[in-house]
Symmetry: C2
Subunit: 206 residues, 2 copies
């Protein structure tokens, strides 16, 4: 019997023109100039303003066995870890699972409340995926973002399933999903319309 291996998924909210964040991202405005509060209020209104009708999609986002994220998504610290930064999500992050943060600067793992532990991976995408797969067991590994990290995994052919939540705004600039990714063949495996968002799930065929 071979052990079941979980899928590698990416799950992200994008504008109708494909952006996951606006331009000029800063610590005070991690989602950049997005026409809102800079914390993604307009991008993520579907989660907070109509939670009931989007319950399935939100639950799926918090179900993975392990998470991978880029350095910029973890926080604003650049270069060496010279600040006591523990992510944007407070003492009890919503991941409740091991989180592998891609970085060029080594750092000891950082346990948090609620089952989240941040692990800092300095030897690249594939190593992070290998470690996340081991940590997830037969659970899924979710590439959490941002766009740059998902695009790198897509370009490397390492993502099985892409779950997009397409929201009714355009930004015209910023961090764009699929930017620099070679052409992909996808299979639309699920699509569901909610009142202010279109959920579309693709399997990545090649």
């Amino acid at each position: 019997m071979t052990k079941r291996m979980g899928r590698v998924t990416a799950d992200i909210t994008i504008t109708a023109d494909g952006y996951v964040a606006g331009p000029n991202q800063t610590e005070e405005r991690p989602f950049g100039d997005d026409g809102g509060d800079g914390w993604g209020d307009r991008l993520h209104a579907w989660m907070f303003e109509t939670p009931e009708e989007n319950r399935a999609e939100v639950e799926q986002m918090t179900a993975p066995g392990a998470v991978i994220m880029g350095r910029n998504m973890f926080g604003p610290v650049r270069g060496e870890w010279n600040r006591d930064w523990k992510g944007w999500w407070g003492d009890n992050p919503p991941f409740h699972a091991p989180v592998f943060v891609l970085t060029h600067y080594p750092r000891d793992q950082q346990p948090m409340d609620g089952g989240t532990t941040y692990h800092f991976v300095t030897d690249g995408l594939e190593s992070a995926l290998k470690q996340a797969r081991e940590a997830a067991g037969d659970g899924d590994v979710m590439i959490q973002g941002g766009a740059n990290t998902i695009n790198q995994y897509l370009a490397a052919g390492l993502i099985d399933e892409l779950r997009l939540h397409i929201v009714p705004i355009t930004l015209g600039a910023g961090a764009r999903l699929f930017d620099g990714v070679p052409p992909l063949n996808l299979e639309q495996v699920e699509s569901r319309a909610a009142s202010s968002v279109a959920h579309v799930t693709y399997r990545v065929l090649s």
Copy 2:
């Protein structure tokens, strides 16, 4: 009593990464390098492979009272009209309505079979829209494409409703919807999932 005025709509098939055609468009491959036959077979598979389940969307595409299209969408002729070119669609085009073609080069109107007449407009977007509105009466005016023409109308704030048919491929390059368009507030007024396409209709708020 004021006369009802039709809406100005744009209706276009886009890839998951927002392209309406691939790069390197030519007369032989009007949709460019799209991984298919160059005539948009992969983009428009949803219309031809599953016509029954997409009947409503296809019917809506052919319902406008008048149509506007860019010069490149009409044909490959550049500069003066020095060839006997009557569009890509043969003697009986599927528009069955007046079609206003944006061009810098004057040309007499060209009647076709089935109610289509091509009118050539040399004095810009707004003039084309004014003429199309008059021709459409209380019917809708549809901006047919390509991306560049729709983007110009979007940037000018002249489109009321945007109907997107999002198909499960990415192209990574080519003619992209929303390219160069300032940020928009949209309202998702309809969304419907078919088996290999997600139909999303937006009202353009600002």
